[in-house]
């Protein structure tokens, strides 16, 4: 049996769907493409269910698409060494149950222990990626593993076949129309500039809606239920439930149900511009090869602005309108949507062109799951 054959992934849901979104993709990919028996511990099954409707929120233990899912309800408990896997991954530096860590220390051979960190384009991660972190008391070493955009990082999550599936879908207008029709879009909506909107509540959505409504071309905005709730409700003049839609000026807003991950990918592929947030949708938008605007997860001391600027420094070179819009969208720079939007609109063909070059560059680093398995094998 090849190493590793078992892996345990620990996920705490803080950012609603991003954390479990990433862990679920990674777990599935490790199982499906690398033949690893994956156990995913997750503390919030309700959030998980929004992106994977098969989840039973009452089940402490369940099998989903080949992955063992355990509801993580406590830090208590004792574990036998054989209950730990060949690999343990703490996602986003979550604390593992102390009993589990003790069991890892008693296991022979000891598991390879990774802290899978958050994605950032900052240069310093290159110096920390795969560095060891010795346990202060136990004979265990953890390794920091950073996803990223350069060959000195772990790369981005990307399943085998993802790009081919995207290519097939994007070159099949009938498939796109069928998909959009399922979401309630008519011919006029499909002919408009289609924009998906996923953001945190503090994004300046209301002035953007005004700019779209007063703009020169029809815009069809697709927003999942619960996202930008205040602005969407004001625009609709009623409850922002899935299926609700309204047109004002050039803007039509459609409220969508929360989509499972595979459908969300298709939504990104079908839209002309995507507003994404956090890490999971941010990465998927890059593989969609469509222009996108990132709403970054807010952090103390405006650390997220630094991360945003680092990404824009790599991605948006020569794309001034995208950089200005993104900085304003994230509160890192002042600006007015009635000026920023037309500039971004005019720049979208150039952004779309560069999106392909960018994806090619990131593709060459290899995908995160494969890089992670390669690293684990080298640290047996």
């Amino acid at each position: 049996m090849s190493f590793p054959s078992t892996l345990t992934l620990f996920c705490r849901v803080v950012d609603n769907f991003g954390d479990i979104g990433i862990c679920w993709r990674l777990a599935r990919q490790l199982q499906a493409e690398h033949g690893i028996a994956v156990t995913l511990w997750v503390d919030d099954l309700s959030s998980f269910r929004r992106i994977c409707p098969e989840v039973d929120v009452q089940a402490p233990l369940q099998q989903l698409r080949g992955v063992t899912v355990r509801h993580w309800t406590s830090m208590e408990g004792e574990f036998a060494p054989e209950e730990t896997g060949d690999v343990a991954i703490e996602f986003f530096a979550v604390d593992l149950p102390p009993g589990y860590v003790e069991a890892m220390a008693r296991r022979a051979p000891r598991p390879v222990w990774l802290n899978l960190e958050g994605l950032t384009a900052e240069e310093w991660v290159e110096g920390c990626h795969t560095l060891p972190s010795m346990h202060p008391r136990l004979p265990l070493t953890k390794y920091f593993f950073f996803p990223g955009f350069t060959p000195k990082t772990g790369g981005l999550l990307r399943e085998a076949g993802l790009l081919e599936a995207r290519e097939r879908f994007q070159s099949d207008p009938a498939a796109q129309r069928r998909f959009l029709a399922q979401l309630g879009l008519g011919d006029a909506d499909c002919a408009a500039r289609k924009i998906s909107l996923f953001c945190y509540p503090h994004a300046p959505v209301a002035p953007l809606f005004e700019a779209w409504a007063a703009g020169s071309e029809p815009v069809c905005c697709l927003v999942p239920e619960g996202v930008a709730a205040d602005a969407v409700q004001r625009f609709l003049g009623g409850e922002a439930k899935a299926g609700a839609a309204r047109t004002q000026g050039k803007l039509t807003v459609h409220v969508l149900p929360f989509l499972p991950q595979d459908d969300y990918d298709r939504l990104l592929w079908a839209c002309d511009l995507n507003f994404v947030r956090g890490e999971d949708s941010f990465v998927r938008a890059q593989w969609a090869l469509r222009p996108f605007v990132w709403h970054i997860y807010p952090q103390d001391e405006n650390l997220h602005h630094k991360k945003l600027r680092a990404f824009l420094g790599r991605y948006a070179q020569g794309l001034d309108a995208l950089a200005d819009f993104s900085l304003c969208w994230n509160g890192a720079q002042a600006g007015e949507m009635d000026k920023l939007w037309p500039a971004l609109q005019a720049e979208t063909p150039t952004i779309a062109e560069k999106a392909g070059e960018w994806a090619q560059k990131v593709l060459e680093i290899g995908d995160l799951a494969t890089n992670l398995v390669t690293f684990v094998r080298s640290h047996r």
């Binding site: 530096a93 560095l131 202060p136």
Partner: protein, 191 residues
């Protein structure tokens, strides 16, 4: 036990039951849980260097070591020699000096730190005063302190001269107070 975020360069920590001195610490923003601390360390038993990275809330036993007041005497490349009140001399390796090198001055008072009878590092006072030996001319009217410029500080060894950020009103030859934990300017103590 002390969290990583409170551990300073020069501290001795126990990792896997072995004493390590922290020689350098680079702090960077990381995940939602806080900052990442990349430490260059040295095993005090084997002298083997090690680079590790920790989360800010990883906890370590900090070894409380013997300390003795000493004054800096001279540099005998690559050793820094300090002397106590009884004229005993202690040699400290350059790599163990950490950021103390930046503030080194003839006759400087500090505390030598001992492990197993051997001086292994020095600890500086939290606040230290040093003369600015070069900075761009002061700007009239700037008193807010929110705009900064570089100032080179006096140092016993010319090749180790060190710059910090100071407000625009600071002049060459001014003596300024610095927080040695953060290398930040505090105030002008003598014009």
């Amino acid at each position: 036990m002390k969290p990583a975020k409170e551990i300073r360069v020069g501290n001795i920590i126990m990792v896997d039951a072995k004493p390590f001195i922290v020689l350098r610490s680079d702090v960077n923003g990381s995940s939602r849980t806080g900052f990442t601390y990349k430490w260059k360390m040295k095993n005090l038993l084997t002298n083997a260097p090690l680079e590790n990275v920790f989360r800010g809330d990883d906890k370590f036993d900090v070894v409380v070591l013997d300390k003795k007041p000493v004054t800096y005497s001279y540099f005998a490349d690559p050793l820094y020699v300090f002397m106590d009140e009884e004229y005993n001399q202690y040699e400290i390796e350059e790599e163990n000096m950490g950021e103390a090198i930046n503030y080194l001055k003839d006759g400087m008072e500090c505390e030598a730190v001992f492990y197993d009878g051997k001086a292994i590092s020095v600890e500086l006072p939290i606040t230290i005063a040093r003369q600015v030996i070069y900075t761009e001319p002061a700007v009239k009217g700037n008193t807010s302190g929110n705009v900064l410029k570089e100032a080179k500080l006096e140092n016993a060894i010319e090749s180790k001269q060190f710059t910090i950020q100071v407000p625009l009103f600071v002049n060459q030859d001014d003596v300024i107070e610095i927080d040695t934990r953060t290398n930040e300017y505090k105030k002008v103590v003598r014009n």
